[in-house]
Each structure stands twice: as C-alpha cells, then as structure tokens.
C-alpha cells in the first residue's frame, strides 16, 4: 500500500464527510466535487484511465453542476431554521454504522481467497471502443435509450409545471 493510495483515500473520504456534514448546501456540493475528484484520481491509480477521465467529465462536469443548479433553484442555499439533520439522525447513523460493519467484516473475512499481486493490464481506448460496439453493444443501446428517456422526462417534468403555472395564473 503506497503513500499515494493513502493520500488519495484521505482526500476522497474527507470530501465525502464534508459533503454530508456541512450546513451550507452549496458547500456540500463543492465538497462532493472534491470527493469526485479524489475518486477519479483513485481510478487513475488503478490504471483505469478511461474510467477516471469519464468520472471527471461526467460527474464533476455534469452531475455536480446539476446539483448546484438544483440547490439554487430550490433556494436550499439558505440555512433552514430547524437544523439540517433529521430529528432521528442517530437511528440513521446507527444503520449506516451497521452497514459498514457488515461490509468491513465481509471484506476482512474474504481476503484469503484472492491472489495478492497481479500484472498491470494494458488497456487502450481502441479496445474499449471495440468492446462497446462488439460485446457490449446491447447495454450500449439500452443506455442510449435510457439517456434519451431521461432527457425527455426531465424536460417534460420541468415543462409541465410551467404550463400548469401559466394556466393557474391565467384564471
């Protein structure tokens, strides 16, 4: 376990923690972006360059912006008066702790099964492209349809409200 790994892990976990704990929602979004970045770097560390760059492009470039947009549109940037955590936050924390416990236990239990060292894979973008339209063409098409549907759905959700509003205001 190299030092790079520990550093990147620390950044990612800190970002995640910050994203969940900060009071200001915009700060949370920005912390999330830091977490995404950390994860991208972790991907790069794992010799999954394509995944890492895809992470940066999509998550940081689109999802984080989207979150910020949503925050701004719903005026969540103002701090609410009742507090940011739910009244029963301890139960949730306990559940999450239980999940981590189980996962950690599963991980520690099953270490013996896997080999310790493996060779670095040689992965080129061409191989990925070929695989996408070759072996994984069906998932590709389905994801395309999914994305189209999501696009249309989002537009309709946003548009309906506008039409409804106008109708109500017109009465």
């Amino acid at each position: 376990m190299s030092i790079v790994f520990y550093l990147l892990a620390a950044i990612t976990v800190a970002g995640g923690l910050a994203a969940m704990l900060l009071k200001n929602t915009v700060h949370c979004a920005l912390a999330l972006t830091v977490a995404f970045a950390g994860l991208a770097l972790l991907f790069l560390n794992l010799d999954a360059q394509f995944a890492g760059f895809a992470q940066i492009l999509i998550y940081i470039g689109a999802v984080a912006i989207l979150v910020v947009f949503a925050i701004l549109l719903t005026r969540a940037s103002e701090t609410p008066k009742d507090g940011v955590f739910s009244k029963t936050w301890l139960a949730g924390l306990a559940v999450a702790a239980a999940v981590f416990a189980v996962l950690g236990w599963a991980v520690m239990q099953s270490v013996r099964v896997l080999p310790h060292e493996t060779a670095v894979p040689e992965v080129t973008v061409q191989q990925i492209g070929v695989a996408l339209v070759g072996r994984y063409v069906l998932p590709l098409e389905i994801v395309a349809v999914l994305l189209t549907a999501a696009l249309i759905g989002a537009v309709i959700v946003a548009m309906h409200e506008k039409v409804g509003h106008e109708k109500e205001e017109g009465k």
């Binding site: 559940v95 239980a98 999940v99 416990a101 189980v102 236990w105 239990q109």
Partner: protein
C-alpha cells in the same frame, strides 16, 4: 263369565210390541225438533210436545188393551224384542224392550199424567219467555221416562235413566238466572249421581257374572233362573251372595233417584223449578223410576229367598223405606213453603213404596206408585194453581181463606189431600196404603216397620191438614187478592181428582185386580176378601190414625190464621222439637260440614298441589329454560360477539400499530431497507464461512 250369547229367535210377537219403540222415540224426536225452533214459536213447540205425547198415550193404550185382553184370556204376557247394538269380537251388546203388565200399566200412567201436566203447563207457563225451551225439555223427559219403562236391557235402562236425570237438571234449573235454582239443579244432579255410580257398578258386576245385560231373553236373560242360579252360587262379602250384593248396588241407584235417606236432600231443593216440573218429575214419574227399577229387577232382589222368607237386599230396602217414610213426614210437619211440604211428603210416600216393595212384593209397591202419581200430581198442580192465583206467593203463612176465592182448586185439592192421607174407602190412597200396611203386618223379620208406617200415616194426615188449614181456611193474609186459575189449568185438576178417587177400586181386597193383573192370575170379585184375619182391624186402625191426625191438626190450626211472623202453634207447644223439624234435622248442614267440607279441603289440596307442586315444576322448568336462555345470551353477547368484537378491535389496534411503520417519510423506508440488507448480508456471509 259366560260365553257370549246370541240373541235367540223370538216367539211370535204381537204387532203392538213390535212398534213399542215408537212410544219413547216420538217425544224425543219432538224434543229434537223443538230444540231447533226459535223462542217465538211457542204454539209450535207446545203442539209438538202435546201431539207427540198424545201419540205415545194412544200407543200405550193399545199396548195396555192388548195385555189386558191377553190377561182375560188367561195368558201371562211377556213379549220381548231384542236386538244387537254393538258387536265387538265374539261378544255382543244387546238392547231390547219388553211388554208385560208392569210396563203396560207404567206406560199408560206416565203418558196420561204427563199429557195432563203438559196441558196444564200451557196455562201455567204462558207468561214465561222461555216457553219453547220448556216444552222441548219436557218432551225429552217424557220420551226418556217412557224408555226407562219399556227397557229390557239394563244398559238401555241406564241410558234413559241418565237422560231423565239430565232433563231433571235442566228443568230444575229452568230459571237459571236465579242462583238458588242453579244451585238446586247442581245439587240434584250430583246427589243422584252418587246413587248412579253404585247403580253402574251393579250393572257392570251383573254383566261380568252373567255375560248379558238383557233382563229377559228366553231363559238366557240376566234375571232369569239360569243366571240367578249362577249369581246365588257366587259369594260376595259379608255373607252376601253376588245376587244380594248386586241387588243392593242397584238399590243404591234407586235410592238416589227416589230420594231415600240419606240421598233425599236434593228433592226439596228441586222445588226451585216450575210447578209443572215438580208435578211431573218430582212427584209422579222420575222419582217413581227408582221404585220401578226395583220392581223390574225384583227376581234378582228376591233370589235366594226361602218360602215366606226374605233376602238381605229386600230387608235393607224395607228398613230404608220405612225410616225415610217417618223421617220425611216429621220434617214436612214444620215447613212453610207450600211446595216443600209436598216435596217432603213425596219423599215420605216413596219410602212407603220402597217398604211396600220390600215387604209385600211388586204389586203392593207399584199400586201405591200408581195411585200416588195421580194424587201427588193433582196436589202439585193444585199448589201451582194456588201459587199462580196468589201472584207467585209460596209461603202458606201468607195465604188463607182461598176456599171461597178458588173453589175449584179447593175442591180438587181437598180430594187429593184426602187421597194422600188415606181417608177411608172413597180415596185411592187408602187402599194402596193399606196394602202396604197389610204386608208390613205380616212381615216375618220384624214388626217395627209396621209401627213406623202407621205413625207415618198419622203424621201425613197431620201435616196435610195443617197445610190445607193454612191455605184454604181462615182469612186471607197476603197482598193482592187471589183469583181462580183459567180452565186450561183447572180441567186437568178435575181429571186427576177423578182418578185419585176411582183408582182405588182396582186394588181392594174384595177385588184384587191390580195384583192379579201384575201376577198374571185371574181375579174375581169376592166380599170374602175382607174377611182375612186382622184385615178389618187394620183398616180400622188406619182410619183411626187418619182421623186422629186430621182432628189434632184442626185443633191447632183450623180456621185460625196466625200472622205470618207469629210462631207456629206447634212451635209454641214444643219449641225444641219444632227447631229440629223445621231445620230438616240439620242433614244439609251435616253434609256441608262433613262431605262438602272434606271435598273443599280436598279440592284445596289438589289445587295447592297443582299450583305449587306441578306448577312449581313447570315454573322451575320454565325458570331453567329462562336461565339457559340468559346464559346463552350472555355467551352470545360476551363470548361470541365480545370475543369476535374484541378480536376485531385487537386486529384494528394491531393494524394501527403496524401502519405506524408507514411513516410516509422516505428516509425511514431507506433505513429499513438498509437494515434488511445488513441482516441478509450477515446471514449470507455467516452461512458461507468455511
């Protein structure tokens, strides 16, 4: 018990005997038709009654003439027609009728006296609104009585006997709205019922022993010699044979109907009925039915008697009769109601008849029955005329001097009174009563009945004179003035008066036609008849008694008319005795204290049993059911419904509790999801450990 006997073929039976059954049937049919009439059809019902009884009289006369002609030809008639009524298995129930001198004479007497009384009733009941009902019942009575007279079967006799009792009840209680009348009717029915129970026992016993209820049946009848032999060989209790015991049982029935002591209590109370009823039923006919019954079954009563001796049954009959004769005569002395005096007189005379039957045989008793029927009916109808003329007054103390206001009634009444007393020679009562005294004098068992009967004759003369003195002599003590009755009432009186005098001559010792006729012997006229030893002495004795009674009473009561409230002349002399006599020797009170008190107590006991014990059981069962029902309801509401409802409530509560899981908040659902995943993962990992 003998084998069932078939009805043997009869010898040649005369045509009149064949149609003898019409005699009782026609009045009964007339009664039935009368029952359907409306109350307003008075003429029709009277016509029906009188017409039917006239028809019966006509047929009875034919029958009598037939028997008479047979007798004159020297034949002893006994014509029998029997028929089978019910057949069950091998045994039969036979009914039948008999025509012999006894029944012929009774037929004529009943229908003739009945007819006269019917005619009298037209006048007497004219103002009554229940005229139609009266004649309906009277017809029914007449038919039933005629049935009793011709019956050859004890069963048929008993049936007609019961109908006679029923009509007596209906007629005594004719004015049923009066409580006294209703009570008297009930008393009459119940008292005679007691006698009838014994009678029925006797009949059943006779049937059990002889196997038949027919009296005469060509030698196979129950009182013919074969059966009598059988009965005499069977011992009963207390040294009696079966014959004697059955005879006594039958006598008990006769005692009830004929008012012998101690079952006499109903007869005086029966005077609550209309006077024609008293005349017909309680003087001439129904009460005579008992005497007739004894005469009819006389062979049974007499069975086992040695020559010149007598049987236990007849001895009992005699003693009861003699006692009753004196007992009732004593009471009659102290009565104030005109009809009650006559009622007690009837009881007394019935005692004479029974004594006569017991001591002298059928002819003696029946002769007195016939003569008594005429003069007693005459006396009652005369009393009715007096009552009618005095505007429904019945107390002799409030009458008086009627011999000038009601001369015809007085004349006929006097004739009747003298006949009853037994005034010598011209009056029938003398001859018939002397017949009885003659038989008593010769009785082998004891002389006491003779003295009792003689004393009774004295008393009879005494109380009759007292009555006549109070009613017809002296001066009028009543309210409105009296008037003579209409001809429709006085004509029958005259006819009866004639017979009250004339009938005596058929039974004198010089010409004992009556006895000869009944016995089937020839009879010739012979003055020698008077020469029998002691007969003239006897006639003299009875004459002396009668005159003594009349003179004694006249001394006390004649031509004086004490005020109605003043004490009676005899009462002044012997107040204690008077008290006993006027209270009828307290017999009714005695019964009230013993029999009736016991009966009420018993009724109360059974009522208590019924309401407490059985009623308690029933109530207990009902209570148990009620408790069961209540338990059921409790179970139903609480356990079943309650349980069910509770269950549903719990279900609702449980559902409510469960629904709290659905908080509607997404984060809760997520938490649960995560927990479930944890649990599943843990299980998976745990189970895949190696």
């Amino acid at each position: 018990m003998q084998e069932a006997i078939s009805v043997a073929p009869q010898l040649a039976v005369s045509p009149i005997a064949e149609i003898l059954w019409l005699i009782p049937s026609v009045p009964i049919v007339a009664a039935g038709l009368s029952a359907l009439l409306k109350q307003s059809r008075r003429q029709t019902s009277a016509t029906l009654a009188i017409g039917s009884l006239s028809f019966s009289l006509l047929l009875s006369l034919f029958a009598f003439v037939h028997v008479l002609s047979d007798w004159m030809a020297g034949i002893a008639t006994r014509e029998i027609v029997n028929f089978t009524w019910i057949q069950f298995g091998t045994s039969n129930v036979d009914l039948g009728w008999v025509l012999d001198p006894l029944s012929a004479i009774m037929l004529v007497m009943v229908s003739f006296v009945g007819l006269l009384i019917f005619i009298y009733s037209i006048g007497y009941m004219k103002h009554d609104e229940n005229y139609t009902r009266f004649f309906c019942f009277m017809s029914l009575f007449a038919g039933a009585m005629l049935g009793v007279v011709i019956a050859n079967s004890l069963l048929l006799l008993f049936m007609c006997w019961e109908i006679v009792g029923l009509t007596s009840y209906l007629l005594i209680g004719f004015w049923y709205q009066r409580p006294a009348a209703a009570a008297a009717a009930k008393k009459a029915f119940l008292t005679t019922r007691i006698g009838d129970v014994f009678f029925l026992l006797g009949i059943v016993w006779l049937f059990a022993q002889t196997g038949t209820l027919l009296l005469y049946n060509n030698g196979a009848g129950s009182i013919e010699s074969a059966s009598l032999h059988l009965l005499l060989s069977q011992p009963a209790l207390l040294g009696l044979t079966a014959a004697g015991a059955i005879g006594l049982l039958i006598f008990a029935g006769a005692a009830g109907k004929s008012g012998q002591f101690p079952l006499h209590v109903w007869l005086p109370d029966a005077m609550e009925g209309p006077t024609p009823v008293s005349a017909l039923i309680h003087a001439a006919t129904m009460v005579a039915a008992g005497v007739y019954l004894i005469a009819r079954v006389y062979p049974l009563m007499q069975a086992g008697a040695l020559a010149g001796g007598t049987t236990t049954a007849l001895t009992v009959v005699t003693w009861v009769g003699a006692f009753t004769a004196v007992f009732a005569a004593l009471i009659a002395v102290a009565q104030n109601d005109i009809k009650r005096i006559l009622a007690y007189s009837t009881v007394s005379q019935l005692g004479y008849m029974m004594a006569g039957l017991g001591m002298g045989g059928v002819a003696v008793g029946i002769f007195h029955l016939i003569t008594h029927a005429f003069f007693k009916a005459l006396l009652f109808l005369g009393a009715g005329s007096v009552i009618h003329g005095c505007h429904e007054e019945q107390n002799v103390r409030r009458m008086g001097g009627l011999k000038s206001d009601m001369p015809l009634t007085f004349l006929t009444y006097a004739i009747g009174m003298l006949a009853l007393c037994g005034f010598p020679l011209l009056f029938s009562g003398f001859w018939s009563k002397d017949g009885i005294l003659e038989a008593a004098r010769h009785w082998s068992v004891a002389k006491a009945p003779f003295y009792m009967l003689v004393f009774g004759a004295l008393l009879t003369a005494f109380y009759m004179t007292r009555q006549v003195a109070y009613v017809f002599f002296g001066h009028w003590r009543g309210g409105k003035l009296a008037h003579e009755s209409p001809a429709v009432m006085t004509a029958p009186l005259a006819v009866l008066a004639f017979f009250a005098m004339a009938l005596g001559f058929i039974g004198t010792p010089a010409w004992p036609w009556f006895r000869a006729f009944l016995d089937g012997r020839a009879a010739g006229f012979a003055w020698r008849g008077f020469m029998e030893s002691g007969l003239l002495t006897l006639m003299g004795t009875s004459t002396v008694m009668v005159l003594a009674g009349i003179i004694l009473a006249w001394q006390l009561y004649g031509d004086r008319s004490p005020k109605p409230t003043a004490p009676d002349a005899l009462e002044k002399i012997a107040p204690v005795a008077w008290g006993w006599l006027s209270s009828k020797f307290y017999v009714d009170e005695f019964y009230g204290v013993t029999v009736i008190a016991f009966y009420s107590w018993w009724a109360r006991v059974t009522d208590w049993l019924d309401s407490r014990v059985w009623g308690g059981v029933v109530a207990g069962v009902a209570w148990a059911f009620g408790m069961g029902a209540r338990l059921n309801r409790f179970l139903d509401t609480n356990v079943v419904d309650g349980g069910f409802d509770k269950g549903c409530e719990e279900l609702t509560v449980g559902g409510g509790l469960l629904s709290r899981v659905q908080t509607g908040r997404v984060q809760t659902y997520l938490r649960i999801l995560a927990l479930a995943v944890v649990a599943l993962a843990a299980i998976l990992i745990w189970s895949s450990r190696t």
